[in-house]
Symmetry: C2
Amino acid sequence: RKDSLWKRFVAFHDALSGWLCVLLIAINIGIIAAMVDIGAVWLTNIKVGICLPAFYLSQEHCCWTASNQTYDQYQHVHCANWHQWSSLFHVTSNTVAEYAVNYVAYVVFGCTFATVCAILVKTFAPYACGSGVPEVKTILSGFIIRGYFGAWTLLIKSIGMILGTSANLLLGKEGPFVHCSSCCGNIFARLFPKYGQNEAKKREILSAAAAAGVSVAFGAPIGGVLFSLEEVSYYFPLKTLWRSFFCAMVASLMVKLLSPFENQHRGLFYVGNNYRWFYFEMIPFLLLGILGGLFGALFIKSNIAWCKIRKTTRLGRYPVIEVILVALVTLLISYPNPYTRMPMSTLIRRLMTSCELDDESLLCDYQRNSTSAYEKNEAAKPLTGVWMSVGLLSSALVTQTILFIFTFGIKVPCGLFIPSMTLGAITGRIIGILFEACVYYWPNFFLFTIECSTADEQCVAPGFYAVVGACAFLGGVTRMTVSLVVIMVELTGGLSYSVPLMCTALVSKLVGDALVGEGIYDAHIKLNNYPYLDVKAEFIDQATAVNVLESKQEKTELIMLPRDGLTLNELMTIVRTYKYNGYPVIASQEEASIIGFVLRRDLQLIIQQRILTNGESNTNLLISFSRTIQQHQQSNLIHLYRLLNRSPTTITLDTPTTTIIDLCRKLGAQTILITNDKGHLVGLLTKKDIITYVKQKKN
Amino acid sequence: RKDSLWKRFVAFHDALSGWLCVLLIAINIGIIAAMVDIGAVWLTNIKVGICLPAFYLSQEHCCWTASNQTYDQYQHVHCANWHQWSSLFHVTSNTVAEYAVNYVAYVVFGCTFATVCAILVKTFAPYACGSGVPEVKTILSGFIIRGYFGAWTLLIKSIGMILGTSANLLLGKEGPFVHCSSCCGNIFARLFPKYGQNEAKKREILSAAAAAGVSVAFGAPIGGVLFSLEEVSYYFPLKTLWRSFFCAMVASLMVKLLSPFENQHRGLFYVGNNYRWFYFEMIPFLLLGILGGLFGALFIKSNIAWCKIRKTTRLGRYPVIEVILVALVTLLISYPNPYTRMPMSTLIRRLMTSCELDDESLLCDYQRNSTSAYEKNEAAKPLTGVWMSVGLLSSALVTQTILFIFTFGIKVPCGLFIPSMTLGAITGRIIGILFEACVYYWPNFFLFTIECSTADEQCVAPGFYAVVGACAFLGGVTRMTVSLVVIMVELTGGLSYSVPLMCTALVSKLVGDALVGEGIYDAHIKLNNYPYLDVKAEFIDQATAVNVLESKQEKTELIMLPRDGLTLNELMTIVRTYKYNGYPVIASQEEASIIGFVLRRDLQLIIQQRILTNGESNTNLLISFSRTIQQHQQSNLIHLYRLLNRSPTTITLDTPTTTIIDLCRKLGAQTILITNDKGHLVGLLTKKDIITYVKQKKN
């Protein structure tokens, strides 16, 4: 009874440590995310102007309580407290000069941020560059990149995110957040021996941390867990699902608690259940899906091509100069167009919002017959303002797409969710406006009459097309599925849109997969030659272990250590000559039945110890891997039984390749021993051999 | 080039067949669900009365267009077209007689439905009884129950669901829907050889079908997928996630398309984002969580105890009489209380809805100072009506809990989501009303003043407590986690409630797990002794295969077939004597290296064929499992090489038990061969041995 209570306590403590660990991670990444958010908003505003009474306030917060708020055509707030740089330098008389001063300030500040960011990354933490998701995926599949999840990387990546987004570069924060929270996960896992000392257990914590990363980036805890499950994690044990969810939830709650002016319970691009969709709208939605797939394929192809050029030519040697150039071009191009001048998340929010009747912005320049808020919001005649913004948005689409291709992959922290969504939202809104115009000018077209005539709500809402477009473009680039739909639902807060979003994501994935067979993350994994065995692809093959063995390109010699009789000297030669991960141990050279597997690392340690204590003198000592040894032998024998992994993964020559792949994927086997009919060792396959084989078969 | 195109086409067709299969399943289960829904509503209403102009209309649809609609205190609609049984028999003068006639009609109809249901199940499809989720779980873990997914079961279970819910029994439809859609999955999988002929592939389809089951029951496609992932499926390959989601989505869309009067884009218990929650409300929410955990433990303990009594005593021999008795008691008790008289889903919807200012029902009998819909809905003084309904709800809580314990497990199709949620919603609403009264009477209590004074919305909304209560009670019974929260969010359409729902579910699971270590489904699996190896429990053990072998209780003899030299006669004796699943084949009795594994089923077939063709005469024929045989031997030899599984799962004696369990869980190994240092066979473990070992260790 007492014993059972003690056991229960131990089990409880054991279970608790995991929860405590993810709680710490969640709180930490929540705080980091809130700081990044606040910092980025402030720095972004500094490019434009400053709040004179309190320099630390952003434009929005500066005008929060001001009595003289005005809104311009693009829904920017203005007030007396907020000073653009031109007015600060008293250049207000001449419009051209005013524009020039503001333009220069914008470009100079932006370039400075980008430069500082690139220098920080290059000097202190080279791993902090890029999205991080391909690397996190690879690490979770069992590969080890030392230092990738270090404290410096975390710090520099967090600062880099603030600087990068403030510089108006075409990059987002979700990928870097996944990387940052994995860093947090790695750091905190060290505090708990259960997780810090066991790579497999640590990966459970890292999966949860990855979920928290997406969760804080978007305030989408469920989407974050599904993203971790679907895209990032290699093997996601169900028992950690709940813990990941907890981690994601606490992290997103932390961000909301710490962001003082945010609406605490709503998504980033909240539109609620305001829109209603009709079945005939499936046609433009599917069109958006196709466009999304095309965009994804175009982006992946050109981005990978450009990254290859960067890798192989001299360009790769000047990362800081590349960042400065990209930033300069981006800033110069984006200032003149008000839609690209504003931060991307602001633009997305604006594009997804529907036009209220009293809205006077350029995008909502419709001829309304009624101004009563209680009447039905019917299709209205678009005026010049609408067509002007369509023009501005189209030009933004072209320039931003080109910039995006060159930006993703430069040596600063850069994610791709927000840029992809921006381009998608622009396309969606344009198509929405055009389609709404169709409904207005041809109301009697048979598709429109059936459903529009009975509708209570607006029949075609361009804002909703921006939502669908964002989903389509993001799907085309990343090839996410369920997690994409859930993230979009959580971002917009509209559960009733799941059907059109799913259809669009499906079409976009189909089109994308038909053109380029993999998403951007997998493409980058391939580009960098990471040893990643795709967990999702179905591998159909009739071959067996024999074929895999035969197809091995570099015929490496199979080194087997005999159980007894090897001298220390011989062992040293083997360890020095054959730099494999480890060596199988067999009964004897005549009867090659498997005794176990010994890691080269362990052997090296033993050899070093022996040489340190005894000097080079007695290298003729015998090595024994036997379980028991006779007493009289003990003196001149090194007993290595305890180093032996006595249950290495073993298969026969006739084992199908699908089983071999499952052993790697599901059980995480790194080395597989192969026996013949007699139970004798005849070959050895490493995970790398299998990855090579799968790649060969695919091409 | 041509070859590659052809390959692409084959791959495309191959991929398409899976999608087509789930599409058919989704459409089918959607149609079935819509028919069940419509049928159940109509039959439920028949107990009360009939629509005279059109007998096939339910009460709500009957009064849909009527001009003289009135609502009673419990928000039931009444109109002239709708006739209660008393008015049909012209017993309207005397209130007592009227009540009596209605009462009798209600009980007689209800009892008839229950009886028909029980007889149908007993006569045509005994497998149609119960929830089905424990069995689906077991089957997805690799066990085979023949006929469990048959067409008859599907038909009878669908009809049974209509009859069972119409009889006002304390049972729901989600579990049976999971079973029904798995039946659909099984039936349609037969059309596609890729899925029909491969058990592992078929399970992928069944996982998707299970997702569709929950999806149609609640209109919760995302929750359905997560339920399938978390609770039902044993191993959920990521590549099928998207297909499951598609299946769930199409199925829920079908139901919505076919249910003519439903709001097409909303959850079953839609409350939207209308409620706002405050941090101090966490206290009552956690209280609800604790109550949910307690309820779950109580329910599981008593229900399992009662099911054991049923199994072991004579009671189990009279299932129909048991059903009739339970129905009779349920109907007699539930008629007098208006809250139990109405269908459970109606009650839940009512409890979750907030009190509008112009609401005059009993539950909303508050003293309002204002009747303007634009003013803040403040805490108001509860009048007698509210306290009366609290009394009615409390008595309902007691009676329904007791009835629920006796109902779950009777021989009709019965799920437990809706009853658990009903009891939770009742508890939640009661606590919500009490807490609101506290806020009203002590507005200056420090917890209330801080947040309530600044709130724009109602400070404590009892309707929201019903949502939280439903989540807590369902969590206590099933121990679901992420899927529970997502299902609740989808049911209510309120994404902003995920935090309180998650906290409540967490507390309820913790409390429940501390009292009873497993959910109701696992408890029933245990009760029925299904060979199910829990996939979620972490199993910590230092033992190895040796220990498992030694702990085997029934020491079964290890039968090994030699590769050559066995006569047909000897083989027949072995097959007759040792009724194992199969036998390992070894090189020779002296050198027991493993050649392969042969199934008993295959051997039996061969023996039968031989006896049929050759008669008993030549039973001295030799059996050979060799790869090649000499020409001159051919005449008196039976060559069985092709029957051999040449890559059986093989491990060494030193393999840790955790690895053995992983082999069963993740690779689906049924029989594991064990070799010693020399590579010779020394033992054999079946999945059952391992399940027994795990159970032993746990107790």
